[in-house]
Subunit: 224 residues, 2 copies
């Protein structure tokens, strides 16, 4: 079985390749990988070479890594465990939205299929984690969505918060206490490009202003 370390590398390569990079074709550089895993470049190179030997990635020296089909499968499984655990911690254990990431980071490597399935049932086959990230299903499929940055929305659009791009603790805490969590429906009331402020209205009629800076950290689904 894959060690925690291997799972972390594979997961990171996945997010770098598919969620921040250009998809199937994209190569993840050793530099980026090393930086985001907080190891030295030499360590990343060594590890990636060994991952390549086990068939989880394909590696071209001085170009980068890509996941193989097998690697992608593992990545999605780890992501599934991570996100399921996060949701579980919030929904079942009542933990705060902003304190769950590190817990999930540790738990994601030791959750068996059996436990995962139990949690999945308990939570009612959820599709999104508390950050709004999609949870791959047991076969590794992820529900695709069309997301745009809140800052790019035009006036009058009805939107639903999809995911939060920034995982900083203070930001999450702010959003949480202001009801700006994934799933929340909003209407863009106005946007002042000069002032850099966007105005939102909740279903309840309440209003809230957000700076462009913050509105760039929130992705939304636009209602048809």
């Amino acid at each position: 079985m894959a060690t925690s370390t291997v799972e972390n590398y594979i997961k990171k390569i996945y997010t770098l390749q598919f969620e921040q990079g250009g998809g199937e074709e994209a190569n993840v550089s050793m530099g980026d990988l090393a930086t985001s895993l907080d190891v030295t470049p030499g360590t990343a190179t060594t590890m990636v070479k060994s991952l390549a030997k086990t068939g989880l990635v394909s590696y071209t020296p001085r170009v980068g890594v890509q996941l193989t089909a097998q690697g992608k499968e593992l990545a999605l499984l780890v992501l599934r465990r991570h996100r399921m655990v996060e949701l579980f911690l919030v929904k079942v254990l009542g933990m705060d939205w902003h304190e769950i990431h590190d817990e999930a980071e540790a738990l994601e490597h030791v959750i068996s299929d059996r436990v995962l399935e139990r949690i999945d049932i308990l939570l009612g086959r959820p599709e999104l984690d508390p950050h709004g990230d999609p949870i791959p299903d047991a076969s590794g499929a992820i529900a695709e969505r069309d997301l745009v940055l809140l800052v790019d929305c035009s006036i009058g659009q009805k939107v639903r918060i999809g995911r939060i791009e920034n995982q900083e603790d203070t930001f999450l805490k702010y959003l949480e206490s202001n009801g700006l969590t994934p799933g929340q429906d909003l209407t863009v009331v106005s946007a002042d490009a000069q002032a850099g402020v966007i105005s939102l209205e909740f279903g309840s009629g309440e209003n809230r202003q957000l700076g462009f800076e913050a509105a760039r950290k929130i992705s939304v689904e636009v209602a048809e």
Copy 2:
């Protein structure tokens, strides 16, 4: 922080020293330790020497190991996590009593204090795990009980199942499907030393026979 391996050694030394051995004074032999951890004796010796260096155990070559106060504290914390997780898996995730041990074995090393506290609250500050083993409280204290083997009980005694000494899957499965779980109240109706059979009565009036072999694997509290 202690690695999983270190926690496993400390936990095993604890159970060997206190739960199967002679308590505070007892020395755990390298042989016993190695056997129950499924490593070679040389490995146990090496590891124990390094544990001694970190102050978790005191080690006398050719005599054995004992936990220091510090080691005992760690052992009780690990035991707390293990047992709490087991109970959690049964109570919250609805898993079967006999399939939880291995899961807990992995999870016990990655449960943070924060999560542990949440689970503790969710379960209502429980004192016993599903096998009937006491769960140390957050400060490491364990509720003491007076247990005797069911096989040693005399006729007419009212008893409550305290713990199951044998963790074999098939045995646990049998007990579970026959209602012989910790907490269950029973009366010893008769015992035939020649036949090696003991007869039990449930509160419901139902009766059940158990061989001495099995009755030696069940510990009970005797009602005053």
